[in-house]
Point group: C2
Chain length 232, copies 2
């Protein structure tokens, strides 16, 4: 049974749950991955903690991790890019494998972007400030390309807000413009490290979707693969 440390936010956790189901080659119910999903929205907000003006969610994340393990989780996953800021602390004394959204995403970037090329990242300010993916991307031989301040202010952030407000197609056109700008500037692929952005591109059937990796879907596929190899 895979434990899911979620609720950051709840809609992203529901999106992850749906993606695990969609990514499972299931002939019937019994082929699906057993999950134990903690969706706890009371965990302290991650952005202020990362930016240095809010209490750390780490104690609550550790408590959730241990609750899931005690309840029988044989592996863990956390469908929140930003919370991976505390990933190394969560690995300490962790008695089961903890699948990383960063590793899962980089594995899916490999077929899209050759080593040495740049990978663009589309995400919220907090996720970008937390530099969740940077070290691992560099380690994998990529360089990191972020949207500039103008792209953040006119495309990425308003695009995410429009999706959250239900204006998914309008948001999709802004996110697509941000992705196109990164590709035009030489990115080999773009990492969509924000739950709202893949659905925004899907809503407008963007042809650029195939140049992008959805970090939540990558983690979902890693969970399905782990379960199929381990089955416990």
């Amino acid at each position: 049974m895979i434990g899911v440390l979620g609720g950051m936010g709840p809609l992203a956790t529901a999106d992850f749950f749906s993606k695990v189901l969609a990514e499972t080659p299931a002939k019937g119910d019994a082929d699906h991955v057993p999950l134990l999903i903690q969706s706890d929205p009371r965990i302290a907000p991650r952005p202020p903690a990362i930016l240095g003006n809010g209490r750390s969610p780490l104690p609550e994340l550790l408590a959730g991790r241990d609750r899931l393990i005690r309840a029988g989780a044989t592996a863990l996953a956390m469908p929140c890019n930003t919370a991976h800021f505390w990933y190394s602390e969560l690995l300490q004394d962790c008695t089961v494998p903890f699948l990383s959204i960063v590793d899962a995403s980089i594995q899916e970037l490999a077929p899209l972007a050759t080593a040495g090329s740049a990978v663009g990242i589309v995400a919220t300010r907090a996720t970008l400030a937390a530099q969740i993916f940077d070290a691992a991307l560099i380690q994998a031989g990529y360089s990191v390309m972020l949207p500039d301040e103008a792209q953040m202010g006119t495309q990425v952030l308003p695009g995410i807000e429009l999706v959250k407000a239900g204006e998914v197609a309008r948001g999709g056109r802004l996110i697509e413009a941000a992705v196109r700008a990164l590709l035009d500037q030489g990115a080999g692929a773009v990492l969509l490290a924000c739950t709202e952005t893949p659905m925004a591109l899907d809503a407008i059937q963007s042809s650029l979707r195939s140049r992008c990796v959805d970090s939540t879907a990558a983690l979902a596929r890693a969970c399905v693969a782990w379960w199929r190899s381990n089955q416990s």
Copy 2:
């Protein structure tokens, strides 16, 4: 934290999770209901057990119930109509409130169907055979109206199968025909006691939707109401 005894099937559990989120009057993440969702598709199939030719899922349901309580659940819900066949056994020695999909549904039928009228039920053969809702509906002053054999064979069951196969609009037209037949025969309202049927009617924007209660959504609303009254 509300514990969710799910995985019967996993897609129904994901549907329930989404409905809890949709039914929550949330200004932000922190307003959402904390959930601990067990989605375990390894629980023995309910239809053969009810029909007398398969092992009982009760031991696994009890184990799941106790796992959720030990992990901190302060109330429980089970988003599966058919599994409520074992509801009274699950209540025994249960140390926290266990919200019933039957009670939640009947509460929502009240504004639609006056006491003394018939309530139609659209569900799979196993749910109908298990008579999950019958005694409680009669207790509440209703009579029970089921689709006849021809309606089951030409509308309800093929409609559900079409939705499962992704042909949601085609399925919707069959389910709508089954609902209309029940209303034409005098039902005051119709209980949709199968996950696929509300989405089928929604897909064709059926005007009959307002005459129906979605048991999964009713349970989701009961969970949100419980949480808002108890907050623990």
